[in-house]
């Protein structure tokens, strides 16, 4: 790189004089660019304008020698410029905008957020330019300050700019400004004092008044009009004593065994663990009045907060409120990333033991079981040897109520039986579209209980423990053929429910079929006894169904058939067709009993679809697909053949695909309309005719089962048991999040009228998040974040309501709370004597009492016994503000009267005074 050019740049020579000139010229240039000089006087401000309207900001960079500055422009954006009729004409008296504003009390004490906005408060002005050293540097040197001030002066004169030009000096944190405004016939100087030690005479209004008068009258002997004063005292409340609002997390340690109720288990906690409202600021204001109606001196003061005509409050919230529900969700989300297996967490006892050995015997056990099943753990304990009980962190007296809560049918008198869990997904359901489970169904309860475990009962290993017990129970129910409660009936609903729910539905399907099978066996056995001659087809059921696949070859089957049943004997008839007869034989056509459709869970469906897709799209792939899909067609054909000996493809097609049967003129020999197969069914060797020719007459129950419930059940159990902890948590996450949103939706808060809308918008996100089988944690993180945010808001309003409204619930209070929640300074309706005012006073009194008791006990109490026991209701104000205004002739008594203003702010640690003092520049 070539440095010469850059070096050249630095070699320019600036003399001090030209630096200054350049600086001033640049100031003028910017002022000109911003078109500031030609501004007219605006309309009088209305009360609250400073806060209601936005402030326009602009800035430019400029340098003074090598020091960088920013010139910033701030202007209140009042849009109703048209209504400006009034002052523009009348105020020909050369009073500038800032002077007019400085005398206007309607926006006193306005608190404005934003950098440099305190200037508006200090001087009461609606527009200003401020020069700020860039990079937060400070300007403390007297000479420098003078140079800057005179630069501003010159620039203002040269550019004919009336808008106040200020400069920030001293340390940035001091917010110290000086400046000037050059009007047509007068100049206003902006001055400031900011000192740590408050001079004793400045502590009260009396002292400030004489200071002000001294400054503006300068002992001229002229008797001015009375000074006008506005006063505001600020009181701070942080100690809530009795009015504190917090929620305790559910405490499982205290709830021993039986007392651990359904109410606690089934609910997610909601609210803040410590009061979300941090501070309450009470502003007591005395709007502008004459100096002689109020006394505030060392010995006496009229300025009692209760007497202030105006009360306003503002609240500050705790920045990060810890909320229970949010914590629950966050903890749970964290677990979703846990890679540990159940064995890692619980030890070898939790490892998967195939229960095949029990399957065979269980069929008969189920029948001897008592009507009320018991919980597997209890049984496990009693039955001993193959007890798979593990040492988890959840104590048994807590675990049992949890399990009974999940499986209420295991108890004689269920405390929390499931209501109808099938109503889920009804069109008008509030929660439609969220793919989880029915409210308060098994998966719902499980996810809530899981969250309790994760949060209160031992984190990851507690969740593992719960899951282990849960799966044990599912396995137990499979073995004993006891349906799982709280799961919607029917096939896995892959459209409306989450994967875990589908798995449990699948389990129930298996249990149901297993039960049906077992009942069948039982029936056939009893039938054998009753009527030994009946050659029941069911007799061979078990052996056929347990047959390994390879034995399913037609040849084998044929052998069996010839052995056990006559070739032509019809079997597996469901019903006689009302009209159709077989084409060849003229026998009535019978609808066959067919195999039940196969239930599948979403992951299986996806797998199936993958298989189909991966075959490709060419002709061969299509044939492969047809072959894969023809299993059920073949099964139906076999059932049909079994039910209708002597049937041909035509017969089958008329039942199965009537639109491929083309009717003709005339009747056949059995009196039914003639017809023939559609051309496409007559294509040689088409999949239909091929399947037909390979189909054997086998009734449905003897066919190879399309759905093997034993295998499917084992698959589900294996699936459940082999999940890593994070996967377990992810299975539960959709319903837990749903339950959390449900909890949120139960919150009613009039001061948050949009709560239902916000809940709805989170719901929309949740609908989207729950759709895919594999959960995207990021989406859930966002939803959790949203729920947390809303929870905090609700907690804040609840706390405010508790503090300020007690049990009352009025429109007035509601709108008051709404405003407070927006972070605004809000007028207390009725001031100190109104309902809210009284509540606030009480809170201050309580806090004072608490402080008093504390100091009493600390210092020896004898001290105070003698002293005035009328302990004050309010503490010392944290801030006292005064605004003094007058119009006096300056610099000499013969000058035109000029606006003068002093703002004083007294805090424990400093006093600040900001003055705007005007002088006539013509009649000196």
């Amino acid at each position: 790189m070539d440095n010469s050019e850059i070096e050249d740049f630095y070699h320019h020579d600036f003399t001090t004089a030209s630096e200054w000139e350049v600086f001033i010229a640049r100031l003028e240039e910017i002022i000109h660019e911003w078109k500031i000089p030609n501004n007219k006087i605006g309309p009088y401000l209305k009360s609250g304008d400073f806060i209601k309207h936005t402030w326009i900001e602009a800035f430019e960079k400029l340098n003074f020698a090598d020091v960088e500055f920013l010139l910033k422009h701030y202007k209140l954006n009042i849009n109703d410029e048209e209504s400006s009729a009034g002052p523009t004409e009348e105020c020909e008296d050369a009073r500038s905008q800032c002077q007019q504003d400085a005398l206007d009390p309607l926006n006193d004490f306005a608190v404005l957020a934003g950098e440099h906005m305190e200037i508006a408060r200090y001087y009461g002005i609606r527009e200003f330019l401020v020069l700020v050293p860039a990079k937060q540097s400070s300007i403390t040197d007297e000479t420098r300050i003078k140079i800057l001030l005179s630069s501003l002066n010159i620039a203002a004169i040269n550019s004919n700019c009336e808008v106040p030009l200020l400069v920030q000096v001293q340390e940035p944190w001091q917010r110290f400004y000086l400046g000037v405004s050059i009007g047509k016939g007068s100049t206003a100087n902006f001055e400031m004092v900011h000192v740590k030690k408050i001079p004793p005479h400045c502590k009260h209004l009396t002292g400030l008044l004489s200071l002000f008068k001294q400054r503006i009258g300068a002992g001229s002997g002229f008797r001015p009009d009375p000074v006008m004063v506005s006063i505001r005292f600020t009181y701070l409340l942080k100690d809530w004593t009795n009015s504190s609002w917090t929620q305790e997390p559910p405490d499982f340690d205290f709830m021993q065994g039986e007392t651990l109720g359904v109410a606690e288990l089934g609910k997610l906690p909601f609210g803040a663990t410590f009061d979300p409202v941090g501070e309450l600021h009470l502003f007591t204001t005395w709007p502008q009045m004459s100096e002689n109606v109020v006394v505030d001196s060392e010995g006496f003061t009229d300025l009692e907060p209760q007497l202030a005509p105006e009360w306003t409050v503002q609240v500050k919230m705790v920045s990060s409120s810890a909320c229970l529900l949010g914590d629950y969700l966050t903890d749970f989300l964290y677990l979703c990333k846990n890679q540990k297996t159940l064995v890692d967490l619980l030890g070898d006892a939790a490892s998967y033991v195939s229960s095949e050995d029990q399957v065979l015997s269980s069929a008969f056990n189920a029948l001897t079981e008592s009507r009320i099943p018991t919980i597997s753990t209890v049984v496990g304990k009693a039955v001993t040897k193959k007890s798979k009980n593990i040492d988890g962190p959840i104590a048994e007296e807590v675990l049992l109520p949890i399990l009974y809560f999940l499986f209420p049918d295991a108890e004689d008198n269920p405390k929390a039986p499931y209501s109808d869990v099938n109503s889920y997904g009804v069109e008008d359901d509030q929660w439609r579209g969220i793919k989880t489970c029915a409210v308060n169904s098994l998966v719902w309860r499980l996810s809530i209980v899981a969250a309790h475990c994760a949060h209160n009962l031992g984190g990851a290993s507690a969740l593992a423990h719960l899951w282990h017990e849960f799966v044990q129970e599912i396995r137990f129910r499979w073995e004993k053929s006891i349906p799982i409660p709280g799961v919607g009936s029917g096939f896995p609903d892959s459209v409306r429910t989450c994967l875990l729910h589908q798995k449990l539905q699948m389990m129930n399907c298996c249990i149901e079929r297993k039960k049906a099978r077992e009942e069948c066996i039982l029936k056939s056995q009893s039938m054998d006894i009753d009527d030994p001659d009946t050659e029941s087809e069911e007799e061979f059921f078990e052996c056929t169904s347990e047959e390994p696949t390879d034995e399913e070859e037609p040849s084998v089957k044929t052998v069996q058939k010839t052995k056990h049943s006559l070739w032509n004997r019809p079997a597996g008839r469901l019903a006689k067709h009302p009209s159709l007869r077989l084409v060849k034989t003229g026998e009535a056509l019978y609808l066959p009993v067919t195999q039940d459709p196969v239930p599948k869970t979403e992951d299986q469906l996806e797998e199936d679809a993958q298989v189909m897709m991966q075959l490709g799209t060419d002709q061969h792939a299509s044939e492969m697909r047809a072959r894969l899909m023809s299993a059920s067609l073949l099964s139906d054909m076999e059932s049909f053949k079994a039910a209708n000996p002597g049937a041909v493809l035509e017969d089958f097609i008329r039942w199965y695909s009537p639109r491929d049967w083309i009717e003709e003129e005339g009747l056949d020999e059995w009196g039914q309309t003639n017809g023939h197969l559609s051309p496409r069914m007559m294509i040689p060797n088409n999949p239909w005719s091929r399947a037909w020719s390979s189909a054997q007459p086998v009734p449905a129950h003897r066919q190879k089962r399309l759905f093997d419930d034993t295998r499917e059940a084992e698959k589900v159990i294996h699936y459940l048991v082999s999940q890593r902890l994070g996967q377990v948590a992810q299975l539960l996450l959709p319903s837990l999040t749903h339950a959390a949103l449900y909890t949120l939706s139960l919150q009613e808060q009039e001061a948050l009228p949009n709560l239902p809308d916000v809940t709805q918008s989170i719901l929309n996100k949740l609908q989207f998040a729950t759709k895919p089988i594999h959960q995207k944690l990021q989406l859930y993180e966002e939803i959790t974040f949203d729920i947390e945010g809303v929870e905090a808001l609700v907690a804040q309003v609840n706390s405010l309501q508790h503090k300020l409204g007690g049990n009352t619930d009025s429109k007035e209070l509601t709108s008051f709370l709404v405003q407070l929640m927006r972070g605004k300074e809000v007028i207390v309706p009725g001031g100190s004597t109104g309902y809210i005012g009284t509540r606030i006073t009480t809170m201050f009194r309580e806090a004072q009492k608490a402080v008093h008791i504390l100091t009493m006990s600390n210092s020896n109490n004898e001290m105070d016994v003698s002293g005035d026991n009328k302990q004050k209701t309010f503490p010392e104000p944290v801030c006292k503000e005064f605004i003094l205004r007058a119009v006096t002739p300056r610099p000499s008594p013969t000058s035109t009267p000029q606006p003068q203003r002093l703002y004083a702010c007294l805090k424990r640690e400093y006093i600040r005074m900001a003055g705007l003092f005007s002088e006539d520049t013509i009649f000196i």
């Binding site: 996806e606 697909r625 918008s761 974040f785």
Partner: protein
């Protein structure tokens, strides 16, 4: 071939047997027509890439069998479908009447809002028409679906049918653009993405949680 694919869309073809679903699909993918098309067993699957408004999308089309008995089997494959073609034969009123059943079937296996539907009246080349265009249109209006008439034999309306459906899907926020979308920095997606508008974009991966929160917060207080 490797043009950048905006997304893969899953389409379903349903309707009574023999109305011409497989024939329309064959016409669309291969531009062929058989007088004697084999009746589909269960279902079949085909793919095709189309470019619409500068966006190339891959269509994964699932063609199902119309026989009533297959209804226990095929809806499993409805999962995740973004578009459905509901077909009837204009020369057979019965297939038109049955459309209602097919629509119900679809609604039980797909969330209503997640799928764009198109009703297609096929075989308009044949003379013996039984269902008028007005009736077809009325049905479509009543069920808020798209409507078109076609002939697999003459290829009338076939391309249109798929293109309109795809266009509608792309324009419907939230329907696509989910997990299937994995784009490298790729210029020609702009068209579709812009049209999707705010809600559509919200659902993408680059969607900012910060914004979500603030919008939520603002509207509440």
């Amino acid at each position: 071939m490797d043009q950048d694919i905006l997304t893969t869309l899953k389409l379903l073809m349903i309707g009574e047997s023999n109305v011409g679903k497989s024939s329309i699909l064959l016409r669309f993918t291969e531009d062929e027509f058989y007088e004697n098309m084999q009746s589909t067993v269960g279902m079949d699957y085909k793919t095709k890439q189309v470019t619409i408004d500068g966006n190339t999308v891959k269509l994964a089309i699932w063609d199902t069998a119309g026989q009533e008995r297959f209804r226990t089997l095929t809806p499993s494959y409805y999962r995740d479908g973004q578009g459905a073609i509901l077909m009837y034969d204009v020369t057979d009123r019965n297939t038109f009447i049955k459309l209602e059943t097919w629509l119900n079937e679809l609604n039980t296996y797909c969330n209503k809002t997640d799928i764009v539907k198109m009703v297609v009246g096929n075989k308009i080349d044949l003379p013996n028409r039984e269902v008028s265009t007005e009736e077809g249109l009325q049905f479509a209006r009543r069920h808020q679906t798209l409507y078109i008439e076609s002939s697999a034999k003459t290829a009338d309306g076939v391309k249109c049918c798929f293109e309109e459906l795809v266009q509608k899907i792309i324009q419907t926020p939230g329907l696509w653009d989910t997990h299937s979308l994995r784009l490298p920095g790729n210029g020609n997606t702009g068209g579709a993405r812009q049209r999707i508008g705010k809600r559509g974009l919200q659902l993408t991966d680059d969607y900012q949680p910060q914004e979500a929160y603030s919008s939520c917060y603002c509207s509440l207080v």
